[in-house]
Structures are given as structure tokens and as C-alpha cells.
Amino acid sequence: MSRPEHIAPPEIFYNDEEAGKYNTNTRIQSIQAEMTERAIELLDPEGPSLLLDIGSGSGISSSIAESFGHVAVGMDISPSMLSVALESQDVEGDMLLADMGNGVPFRAGTFDGVISISAIQWLLNADKTCNVPQRRLNRFFETLYSSMKRGGRAVMQYYPESDRSQQMILDTAKKCGFAGGIVVDHPESKRQKKFYLILQAGGMRALNTSEMSVEDEKVDAKKRKSKRKHEMNTREYIEHKKDLNRKRGRLSVPKDSKYSGRRRKVAF
């Protein structure tokens, strides 16, 4: 499967159909939610904060940040994704239709912290003749730095295409005044590997990225399978699956009753 950035620019790739997936696909939602919670953990905010959510998309990350007591301001370049966020009504905070490569349009010292989930790799694309990736990266990190208060932290999960893209992003951030590094979760696993760029805008807080990674837990394949079989018979799981199917529009979902999920007598 090719990378989304190679198919089309983000405002075109995330059309209504693709944006709809962020509403119905539970796998996407659970991965995005997990990454958001990890980003907030790495952000380590000192109390209810004003956060900027870059590439807020369908609002999953903003609404999770809000559930932790923060106020989030999101920005995204795709009108379809912002529509999905509006319709879901999960997000209390504001959202902007904006291009991060054109800068973060806020005055100095605005934000306590910044999160971004699966967004900044889109900056490395030259999909229009007026887009020069290095210039966009510069503009983004410069304005991001000034929009953060001193000592504020930015945690950005992204999907680097290569070591070179990682280096380009980190170098640009450092040139714009940030201190920081990259934390890699699950470095051994090809599927689960996640990259978090952690940047600090001045201030006195210590930042030691080498101590922050999460190593792989070797889960026995057999143990994993048996755990899942156990889960499948519980009433909760069955009701959750029925709800999902009703939401997806299937008409023949059986009604819930006192017999749902009840242990049947072994027939054979």
C-alpha cells in the first residue's frame, strides 16, 4: 500500500469518503486514541492547559485531550475532516481550516503545549509548484516556536518515510530554537513501531528522550489467541458489536433480550 502523501495532497486525499472512515472504522479510531493518550503522557502537562492540535482531522485527538481537562484548538487543511468533527459533536474546542505549512497563526506565547497525531509527515510533500518542503518546514517550526509559551512542550506522532525525513524534520526544529529528540515506541515491531517527535520551547524543564521509549513485550501468540476467545462470549462484547452493526446501518441486527450472551447448553 503506498503512502497517502504519494497519492494526493491532504485536502484532496481526505475527501468525504476517506473522512467517513475516521467515523466508522473502529481500528483507526482505537489506534489514533492510543497514540493520543501516549502523546499526552509524553507531554506531561502541569494542570488544565491550552493545547494546539495540529492536523486535528476528525477531532479524535482534540476530544481526548479535552477529556483530560484541557482546552484544545485544532487546525486541519481538509474541510471534509472538519465536517466529520463538527457532526460528531465530540469536540468542545475550536477548529481552524488552515495549512500548517503556512505557519501557525497565533500570537507569541499562546499555547501551554502542542500535540499532533499522524500529521506532520504531510509537510515533506511538494504537491503544488509553490510548495517547497524545506520552506514549509521552516515556516511551520518558526511560528510554532513563537506561538508556544517558554517551557512549553510539543509532542508530535508521525510516520517518517525514511531516516532522511526524520533528520530533516528534527534539524529544522532545532534550527528554529527547539530542543528535543525522537522517542520510538516498540522499536522491534515493524507494525507497531511509532515515532514521537518531542520538542521543548526553551524553559527549564529537563527533557531526556532516551528514557522515554516503551519496549516491546513479547506476548506469546497462544496466550493472545486464548484471551480473545474468552472476551468474545461476554455480554458486553456482544452488545458492543450489535451497536456497531446498527450504526453501520445493518437492518437485521437481533434485538437485545435477557437471552443475549447467555451460556447455552453444550449441544454435542
Partner: protein, 126 residues
């Protein structure tokens, strides 16, 4: 879009950032709505020092609200509920659902539609 956000938003054009005419953006033709949100006293205490009170006065007056005092109120530990609630109402619960914002420096008009401002610039302005 909340009034709190208007108090922090500037023009996207890099030639405008830093000039005093570019902030705050001038609000016109605004339709307002009140969105009820849970009171967050800790958050208000955290953010109030960063709120530009003069800019807030300008913005609220552009919307026809002249009820705010000239001086920024102090939020102490024992600040009364009434003060917190009124700040909360102005900053976090007052939403601009439709309207437009204009930069005093370059003149670019940013439309607000369904509460979301369009901060994109045309190719010539980047």
C-alpha cells in the same frame, strides 16, 4: 469560534505578523451563539495572565458588548463564582458561528462558516 481564540489569533500572512494592526482581527457581520460548557476555574486562572485585555475589549465592543471593565480583573484564590462565571461566559461560551475577520494590515478577509474560520491564503499571498 470562541472569543478566547479570537484573542490569540493573528493574520496568517508572514508580512503581517508582529504589526499592531494585524491583531486583533476585526470582526464583522457576526452571528453569535451561546454554547454551554462546564466551568473550568483552574484553566481560567492559568490562561487569564495571557489574555490581551485591550484586544478583548476591542473584540467584545465590535460585537456590541460593552459590559467588560476597562481593567483586567485579578483572579485570586478566593475569587467569587460570579467573576469566574462571567469570564467563562465571555471567553469560552460565546461562539461566533458566522461572520468574517479582517486583517488591519494586509486587508485579507477570513470568513467564518459554521464556527470554523478559514485561515487559508491564496497562492499570491504566501
Amino acid at each position: 469560534m470562541k472569543l478566547l481564540t479570537v484573542n490569540f489569533l493573528t493574520c496568517s500572512n508572514k508580512r503581517c505578523s508582529g504589526t499592531s494592526e494585524a491583531f486583533p482581527l476585526k470582526i464583522e457581520d457576526a452571528k453569535l451563539a451561546i454554547q454551554e460548557i462546564e466551568l473550568k476555574p483552574e484553566f481560567l486562572r492559568n490562561i487569564l495572565p495571557r489574555v490581551d485585555w485591550n484586544a478583548l475589549l476591542i473584540s467584545t465592543r465590535q460585537l456590541g458588548n460593552h459590559s467588560l471593565p476597562e481593567e483586567k480583573p485579578e483572579l485570586t484564590e478566593e475569587s467569587d463564582e460570579v467573576l469566574l462565571k462571567s469570564l467563562h461566559n465571555v471567553l469560552l461560551e460565546t461562539e461566533i458561528t458566522e461572520g468574517k475577520m479582517t486583517c488591519g494590515s494586509c486587508g485579507h478577509v477570513y470568513p467564518i462558516y459554521e464556527g470554523i474560520p478559514n485561515m487559508l491564503l491564496s497562492e499570491t499571498e504566501i
